[in-house]
């Protein structure tokens, strides 16, 4: 059976890993290749690179970063952040991404997903879905443009539509939990997991191993982790130990 995957995520700006602290800007957190290789050695199952460049110059560096990481990385690489056009996706794949994650561009034009799936296959077409609880507490709505815009659109219905259009995986980020270290949004995970038959990656809110165990039990196929690894609070190996102790199969 498939193992529960752990996916370290690197936020990259202008060729450097950065750490975002909400409303406090970005801090340098190292070289992406060094980080990528270190996480692979710790047992990471895949790597995610999110291009968070604020400027066109930084964005131009993203394909270069992907190519440098690809040369040394021996596990799958998903790249997202700022993918607006078919040409953006193609450039990232050519540089060495195995999967491309699309967020806002797919919400604005859902056929983006079906074009990617037809051209490259569902296995490299990833929907990055940011969701936030509705203010009346009834379900979740889609959030786009890096959290700046609430769409009012139902997040679970969009997940279903995206899967039907050809997305092969969903990286599901809880905008309420991201950066809070209060755990993944388990109700959101369960709702999306039950709505689609493609893998769902839990993202946003992990502070410790128990949060990962809870998310896997709620239906997540994979767990995205960032700050707790970058800060050195824990390692991929230690997180896998905890998953295994909880009875979940992991790759060793």
């Amino acid at each position: 059976m498939l193992t529960t995957r752990i996916l370290p995520c690197l936020d990259v700006d202008a060729g450097r890993v950065v750490k975002g602290v909400k409303f406090q800007g970005l801090r340098d957190a190292g070289d992406p290749v060094e980080r990528a290789v270190a996480y692979e050695a710790q047992g990471a199952d895949e790597l995610v690179i999110l291009d968070v460049s604020a400027t066109p110059e930084g964005r131009g560096n993203a394909t270069d970063t992907v190519a440098r990481v690809r040369a040394d990385l021996r596990i799958p690489l998903t790249v997202g952040g700022g993918v607006r056009t078919d040409a953006d996706a193609e450039a990232l794949l050519k540089a060495g991404a195995d999967k491309v994650a699309v967020n806002t561009a797919a919400v604005l034009d859902p056929s983006f997903l079906s074009r990617m799936a037809a051209r490259y296959g569902s296995q490299c077409t990833v929907l990055s879905l940011d969701a936030a609880a509705r203010e009346d507490g009834e379900g979740w709505e889609l959030v786009i443009k890096s959290g700046r815009e609430r769409t009012g659109q139902d997040a679970v219905a969009w997940a279903k539509e995206a899967a039907a259009l050809g997305a092969g995986e969903i990286v599901l980020t809880s905008w309420d939990r991201d950066g809070t270290r209060s755990g993944y949004d388990l109700a959101l995970l369960a709702a999306v997991g039950q709505a689609v038959a493609i893998p769902v990656v839990a993202s946003g809110g992990a502070a410790h191993a128990q949060h990962l165990v809870e998310a896997a039990r709620a239906g997540a196929s994979a767990l995205l982790v960032a700050s707790i690894l970058h800060d050195g609070d824990t390692t991929v190996g230690a997180l896998k130990d905890a998953l295994a102790e909880a009875g979940l199969e992991v790759r060793r």
């Binding site: 059976m1 498939l2 794949l93 296959g121």
Partner: protein, 196 residues
């Protein structure tokens, strides 16, 4: 030198990087010249069975590939590459594959989540010389359920038992992606390279 067949639809970057790390000198080729006799050939592949086969036929790859396999020359076929070696696939009814492996390719019948996307355990039969026990990275919706006579196989379970890979001498065909399978995949590619 390793010729890597480039049919224009497959993302070759990860395979090229993996072969470079092993000094296997990968060279992408869009024409079939030299395919029958090259030291090593890689048939990667993602996408649909019908489209993949049409491109192999159009560009003249099919006959030299069959000749190469019949002669037992080193070949690595990955993912759709393995499936193209078979006769038919329910993904593209009516399309004839290379027919080297006389078994059908069918969609996962009982798995809850398709595509299979992630790491799964590979268990080789004792006769295998290249394949080892370990975890490999898969990304597939279709699979073979049995290996033809004369080929040694490794198996994996995703809802049902299916063929993870087959080998015969220096010919290795994998449903998983060795180029994305970490240290284990690196070692498998190294073993294949050493056998060539």
């Amino acid at each position: 030198m390793t010729l890597v067949i480039d049919t224009g639809t497959t993302n070759l970057a990860s395979m090229m990087a993996a072969l470079r790390r092993l000094d296997l000198e990968p060279e992408p080729v869009t024409q079939a010249d030299g395919i029958a006799d090259a030291t090593r050939v890689v048939l990667p592949g993602v996408g649909a069975f019908g489209a993949g086969m049409r491109r192999l036929d159009e560009r003249g790859f099919s006959d030299p590939l069959r000749a190469r396999i019949a002669a037992g020359r080193p070949l690595l076929a990955v993912c759709l590459g393995l499936q193209l070696l078979c006769e038919t696939s329910t993904e593209s009814p009516g399309v004839t594959g290379l027919g080297v492996l006389p078994v059908p390719v069918e969609r996962f019948a009982t798995a809850a989540i398709v595509p299979q996307l992630g790491w799964n355990h590979v268990a080789p039969s004792p006769e295998c010389t290249l394949l080892r026990d370990g975890y490999a990275y898969f990304a597939n919706s279709y699979r073979l359920t049995r290996a033809p006579a004369g080929w040694h196989a490794a198996f994996t379970t995703h809802g049902e038992r299916f063929v993870a890979a087959v080998e015969r001498g220096p010919i290795l065909a994998t449903q998983f992606h060795p180029e994305l399978s970490g240290a284990w995949g690196h070692d498998l590619l190294a073993a294949w390279g050493a056998a060539t």
